[in-house]
Symmetry: C3
Subunit: 284 residues, 3 copies
């Protein structure tokens, strides 16, 4: 596990987000876009959603990070994503890709690869089947809100292999999320497991999309230490899930209340609480 | 009223949904799409939202049911709906149509008829003015979230006539929802009134759309008994509304809390509770 | 400050909304559209969302007011907005414009001006940077959910100048919202400050969009007294924010709960409570 000092350094990135209020430009699906905007506000960032090709380059120029999410993709928004990603990377800003549903249709798998090739994607975050689909490993996908895959034991080994493979292919920082999250950098010199999280998270839509948006906020304030930024975001979402799930169980509530309390937790977690709850483990 | 045994058999369909976790492909409006995804997850199904013509056939092939909802319709998504419906019906899967706002514009009325004609729609669910608009009975509509029409007394008689007319015209199972819900099959041999529900349900947007999505989940696990599946879904949504409304009144809360507790109830209702609360009456 | 009698007269407009249940047609962004629909229902109005050029004129004809919101704008929806606005104004109905993100991209600034020129906009509601962008005063915008600008002291003076300038340029009633809201009419004979509201409101997405939708509902029932209608809507949203924030602080909750309780408050505020809490000040 990370030492207390290392953990604290990672947790402090959340303070930087609240102090700097980075503007994060999201081109994202219409299913969870409201959740993404509220999650960004909850962690202290500022969202801007814009997907038309006539304006995405201007908006991306105003923002400190761009998040591209291919849920409910179409040709019009794919063009906009390429343009926004190119502009952001030309300005040296982080570009996060959430390949929602990669593997479920050729359009999505191809779109993810188009974005990896044409926009300089800094970070990819997906679930195991999505990440595997991008590495060319065939996998059976059940859509975008399928049950959390088991990333313990053999599953964890699988996940580590998948993120390393995609990171080496693309040069991006790659994160796979599930029961355990794994993040690695392009050289696979930094591979970290994040043991925060809760099985209730996949029982609501948007937990993955919100996480990708939050990763954008953390990358915006730590562009020189992207793997740490991603780990911090994964840990913060995981801890928020733990807190919301604990309350849901205590009050015998359901998924509607869990979703509200998840947002509460995101808005109330500060760097000190994060430092006390992050469970990060260096794997390489 | 249904016998306890009949009621229990219907209620058990909710257990099948939680056990089989059917994947439900929705092409739906952007107003309530998040609610539909969360409602599907709450009852134990898995949602996938995709509306681009390049991918809807692949996605529909992965899914166990398709739900077509014409709120915020446009030509691009109508084309996708036809393709998804055709693919699903070719594979023998259920296609649910929610004709949101039929009667309010020619585009919507025509689109609903296009879908009824070109995709083999298995189930239609709407409010009374929407169903009447599709039977050619002229009606004054006030949009898609108009107050619940009175389906008691003369209204109920009206509703029964409307669902039977549309079922005979189309061969689909047809449900009209309001103060009382009525479902009938194409031969009008099975006509059931569902007496669950609460007047608070139309005070939030999305209660109808969520219901249509949930119908998709129930049809996915009971393709051979669609009228029962629809009745089970209507009853489950109705009971969830009753439970959420009771809590809202008890805690002197408003529509924001009602909406959260409705989702809680959907996620917590199990087959036993459902069997104890369903109020189904055979009308024919 | 307004006299108790004047205040009461303004507050009574909320009763007219609940009694008349005006249908409000919104062409709005996909980020907060669900919030707008629920907010309209909460204050007693009925929402209808439709954005396709084939149906917007029919839908606008059914409605008592039209709300045009340029967040996540594109060419397709801009065309629809012009058509809906023209139809509504031809029928003598109110057209509300929310110039979300004006100043952040040329597309949005130009679109707002296109709508001001081609559809007879009755009311414009934005934050200070958006309103300034429309008056041609250059301003640095940080996107659409930027922190609330300080409208106290010098900021308030600035806001008054901006709304008067835009009102005189366009003939519309113009409202700027922030720590203090200001509304003025085209002749600048009526300028009112609304001192309701709370700093938590900009910590969730959609508070501005919901407000613009609610303004549509109030204008629908008081087309002959638009400045009063706008002031009533601003005050009601502000009071709902105060109530939700008080509960959030009392229960040590976060922004997720605040958002739910804001909707609760909107649905529970009646004319009497409003009369007791509105803080309106005539500035001219």
């Amino acid at each position: 596990m990370f030492s207390p000092d290392e953990t604290k350094r990672i947790a402090e990135l959340s303070r930087a987000v609240r102090e700097q209020r980075p503007l994060v430009h999201c081109i994202t699906n219409y299913v969870t876009v409201n959740d993404c905007a509220n999650a960004l506000l909850a962690v202290g960032a500022a969202p801007v959603m814009a997907d038309d090709s006539e304006e995405v380059e201007e908006i991306a120029s105003l923002a400190q990070a761009v998040v591209l999410n291919i849920g409910t993709l179409n040709r019009r928004t794919l063009t906009s994503m390429v343009a926004a990603g190119q502009r952001a990377s030309a300005l040296g800003r982080s570009v996060v890709l959430d390949p929602v549903g990669a593997g479920a249709s050729r359009l999505r798998t191809d779109a993810a690869w188009t974005l990896l090739r044409e926009a300089k994607v800094s970070v990819v975050r997906g679930n195991l089947s999505e990440i595997k689909a991008l590495t060319g490993v065939s996998t059976a996908t059940r859509g975008v809100d399928a049950a959390e895959e088991d990333l313990r034991g053999a599953g964890l080994h699988d996940a580590i292999a998948a993120v390393k493979a995609l990171a080496q292919q693309t040069g991006a920082v790659v994160a796979v999320t599930g029961a355990t999250d794994v993040v690695t950098d392009g050289d696979a010199m930094y591979t970290v497991a994040v043991h925060n999280g809760h099985p209730m998270l996949p029982l609501i839509t948007g937990s993955g999309c919100m996480l990708s948006a939050i990763i954008g906020a953390f990358c915006a304030v730590a562009p020189e230490q992207l793997p740490d930024a991603v780990a911090a975001a994964l840990g913060m979402m995981g801890m928020a899930g733990e807190q919301a799930a604990a309350r849901t169980e205590r009050e015998h509530a359901g998924t509607g209340s869990f979703r509200v309390w998840l947002m509460d937790a995101l808005s109330q977690l500060d760097a000190a609480a994060l430092a006390g709850g992050l469970r990060l483990e260096r794997l390489a």
